[in-house]
Amino acid sequence: MIEMDLELAHLRVDYAQTTIIQDLSLNLQAGVSMALVGPNGAGKTTLLNAISGHCPVQAGRVVFGGHDVTRWSVDRRARVGMGRSFQGIHLFPHLSTLESVTLAIAAREGTPTGRLFSRVPEQWQQEAHTYLQQTALSHHAGKAANTLSHGDKRKLELAMLLALRPALLLLDEPTAGMALAEVPVMLGLLEEIKASGKYAILLVEHKLDVVFRLSDEVVVLQQGSILAQGTAHDVMADERVQAAYLGGQHVEST
């Protein structure tokens, strides 16, 4: 089996004339969970975009599972095992939760375009149900995505991601905007996912308790460069990190 490692080498991303990510190098091994923290505007989302193919890279390389994917399209990267969620809700408003998850399974299975007139396989539907169950959405199977609560929408994002069976999970603030009461459920789900050891996880998160619980390693990003890297405890004890955070004032807590 090929190790599905992610390797970023001397990455640079510009928007217009401004450099957002600067000479950034990073390694993420299969099965490892890494948290990406940093003040607003540090470039966390931009870095995820560069990895998933949602924004072009001006210099450097993105290597995933042995492929140099730097110039690959978004869908092609997804097909080799990159699963991505977004900071904002990014769902199929009028499709049911079951259909949404089935759509992810279809992507994973590479929907046979030769079978244009056959039904959606029963197997897929059953599998979709298991992902809804795993994310505590079973009772919403027939509901349209846009009728769900914000927290359930976040869970649906996760169910779709799991259905892809990706090797790498790129999660952009999976608890953002969630009601306080909903966060523990999401946290529990993410812990299970991490504990399964099946995924490399790159998690953007502001809430420090979430970071502590979910990450093996923490990377602090500031103005597009890595400020510090290490275990959560070490990194948070770092003076420069504290300075950056106190300056940024963006430590959230649940």
Binding site: S52, H54, S73, V74, D75, R76, A78, R79, R84, H90, L91, F92, P93, H94, L95, E99, T102, L103, A104, A106, A107, R108, T111, P112, T113, R115, L116, F117, S118, R119, V120, P121, W124, M160, L164
Partner: protein, 323 residues
């Protein structure tokens, strides 16, 4: 009642009634009118595949309709109305339709979807001009249009009626299976959120191309049904107004309902015919396109889901309340 009878019961009932029309009312005016409705219903449903299921707007869907009508018309006219002419013409028309779809897809999809509407319009207008050009007069009879002889087995009203109905039902079944297939699901995903579909790993380009091809093929078959019903073809089949009519039919019936096209076509074709008749006595009715414009606004404003969409919605809500 099982879910299937509830779902298909009404459709079967309608089919039986429609099949009995020649027996109950005789043939002639009414069957000929319905044959046109069949052709346009299929045309509207093919359009719904694009606008309703994939979320792509085309202003030149007539290019497929017209090609079906013209190619089969030419083959029939130049073979003296032989069955072979019909068969070969149909195959050539379908082949051309696939090539056209792929061509349009390759030009428009690589850039941006907005261009699809423009490009279909441009290609449609090119064919409109070509079909009326003097250069092609020996083939198409240019501006005057062609009378199209039909094979012997299609020379009577009844066979034409049942043939058209059978083709419509067959295509309807295929379309229904298609929208329920995994590919149909991906298309609906594209309509809802194209970027998300891409991020899941689907090749949006490939799926849109498939939608264009299937939709184009169905519109081509609709054009073939039209020429068989009319036994005449002229440049009008490529006219922009046909593309707009079909948009109106789809919207009235209900976008994204598939069956809406059946009702939309019935309403528009019957209204067109009635208004044209009335215009003989009261010239004011010759301006019925204005009424269509008003109808369009009323539907979009008060019934955005169209007639079938609104009915399905209320059934769903009622059964939701019961359960």
């Amino acid at each position: 009642m099982t879910r299937h009878t509830r779902q298909f019961g009404p459709l079967l009932l309608i089919l039986v009634v429609v099949a009995l029309v020649p027996v109950l009312f005789g043939v002639g005016g009414i069957t000929n009118l319905l044959e046109q409705v069949f052709a346009f219903a299929l045309f509207a449903m093919s359009y719904d595949l694009l606008i309703g299921y994939t979320g792509v707007v085309s202003f030149g869907h007539a290019v497929f309709f017209g090609t079906g009508a013209y190619v089969v018309g030419i083959f029939l006219a130049h073979s003296g109305g032989s069955s072979g002419g019909l068969l070969v013409g149909t195959c050539v028309a379908l082949g051309m339709s696939i090539l056209l779809s792929l061509l349009i897809a390759s030009i428009s999809l690589r850039i941006r979807t907005v261009y699809f509407a423009m490009i279909t319009l441009a290609v449609g207008q090119t064919f409109y001009v070509l079909s009326g050009s003097q250069m092609l007069q020996p083939l198409t009879n240019a501006d005057d249009g062609m009378t199209v002889p039909l094979p012997v087995w299609l020379t009577h009203d009844r066979p034409v009626y049942y043939f058209s109905l059978a083709v419509l039902v067959l295509c309807l079944v295929l379309l229904r299976l298609f929208v329920r297939s995994p590919v149909g699901l991906v298309l609906q995903g594209i309509r809802e959120n194209e970027g998300r579909v891409l991020t899941l790993g689907h090749s949006v380009y490939r799926f849109k191309s498939i939608a264009f091809v299937i939709s184009g093929l169905m519109a081509t078959v609709a054009g073939i049904l039209y020429v068989i019903a009319q036994t005449f073809v002229s440049t009008g089949v490529y006219d922009v107004s046909i593309s707009l009519d079909v948009l109106l039919m789809t919207i009235i019936g209900g976008i994204g309902t598939l069956y809406g096209g059946l009702l939309g076509a019935l309403i528009i074709i019957v209204a067109q015919t009635e208004f044209t008749n009335l215009a003989g006595t009261y010239p004011i009715f010759g301006r019925y396109t204005i009424l269509f414009g008003v109808l369009y606004i009323v539907i979009v404003r008060f019934m955005p889901r169209g007639i079938v969409g609104t009915i399905l919605e209320s059934i769903k809500r009622r059964s939701g309340q019961e359960g």
